[in-house]
Subunit: 253 residues, 2 copies
Amino acid sequence: MKNKPLILVTNDDGADAKGLAKLIELMRPLGEVAVIASEQAMSGMSHAVTVKVPLMPRLVKDEDDFTMWITNGTPVDNVKLGKHTLLSRKPDIVVSGINHGSNAAINIIYSGTMGAVLEGAIDGIPGIGFSLDDYSPDADFSHVDEFVLKITRKVLDEGLPEGICLNVNFPKISDKPLKGIKSVRQAKARWIEEFEKRKDPFGRNYYWIGGSFVNGDKRKDTDEYALSENYVAVVPVKIDFTAHEYVDKLQFQ
Amino acid sequence: MKNKPLILVTNDDGADAKGLAKLIELMRPLGEVAVIASEQAMSGMSHAVTVKVPLMPRLVKDEDDFTMWITNGTPVDNVKLGKHTLLSRKPDIVVSGINHGSNAAINIIYSGTMGAVLEGAIDGIPGIGFSLDDYSPDADFSHVDEFVLKITRKVLDEGLPEGICLNVNFPKISDKPLKGIKSVRQAKARWIEEFEKRKDPFGRNYYWIGGSFVNGDKRKDTDEYALSENYVAVVPVKIDFTAHEYVDKLQFQ
């Protein structure tokens, strides 16, 4: 059946992550699945690309309608390899995740999960990043199935406008069922970093990054608000850094 | 003089890059300069942050109004370290570059140079990324001085709106003088990747990333057009991935 959709699956927690296994399991009934995953965890890799060393993908699974490569690259590299080299045709969709940890609000800019999806969007491939608000490697994903399927089926059936992809975040599992799906905007929240300073055995200082997440954006049309109300938060996103409202105001005599 | 501005300087080509030396030279008369630069080249690192290993900054220069650290981190890590740990006060401005290579159009999303500047903007620190449309390590920066100074002085004097920073790109030097500065938007151009496939001595495939840059956006209000006309292209940028025009259209019954 050549009319099955080709689904490119990747993530940023590495090939062994529980969230990736969950996403593969959910995608397999929907089409031909090609997984291109990073050997190492790539959290915080954002839209990084590998330019210093070559990419070395290894084919580790080659079954009917299911192939899997493991690479030394970043999530963005994985999508580039898929789009241009490893796959026999252009994927119909890029799905990434399910990330262990939220990519709502400002987290999107640090996110390898969303980097992969945005890289697909650059070439007009619809994409969805799925993330769960739970950093644990053993996170419980059992409440997300129907929503992952519903959103993916919708995008496969209807597509997305050119250049737009979806940033989908799930609340951590609780004893209350999820209330549904909300289309919202990225909250203006940020991290207040605090570095933990230590001394190595030679007396040199080193620093572990840490910090706390602060949401100063209290309006109700945001991803953070939707998550806090136990909704699945979907932000349609695109790549355009221009502050359009300021282009004409910026004058250099 | 405690009222000198504190200027945080970084880049993504590493501490030894010619473009960084140029930027330091231009900034020193403008205030107190603190350089936090990556030991290794960090091209293509985008907004990546280091989470797997701790950061180890080394103080390599400590003079009047001039300090310099070299780190094992990314450009974004360098700004985080500056904002929160290494500097005695919040910087008045973040300047990054001068990058060897253009960061106009889609290049901004892969750019460590602009990652650093955007990281400052998250905390309300005005910032400017400077990039030259010439990848050569020996690139000639001699035509940019007056423009770097003019743009930096303007931002130091007037500030920028909260969350906005500037992506400044210079044409490669030619026998014609630069025509001036244009405030423009990010062009909708992209890379068409082509991987070069090779075999290692053990018969395994590996791939070097390559490709060509294609600008399908022919309107005249873009950074690419300004550069092609020998202007300095300035795009005011901000972090908001939301495709606002699509939030209300996206319905999940």
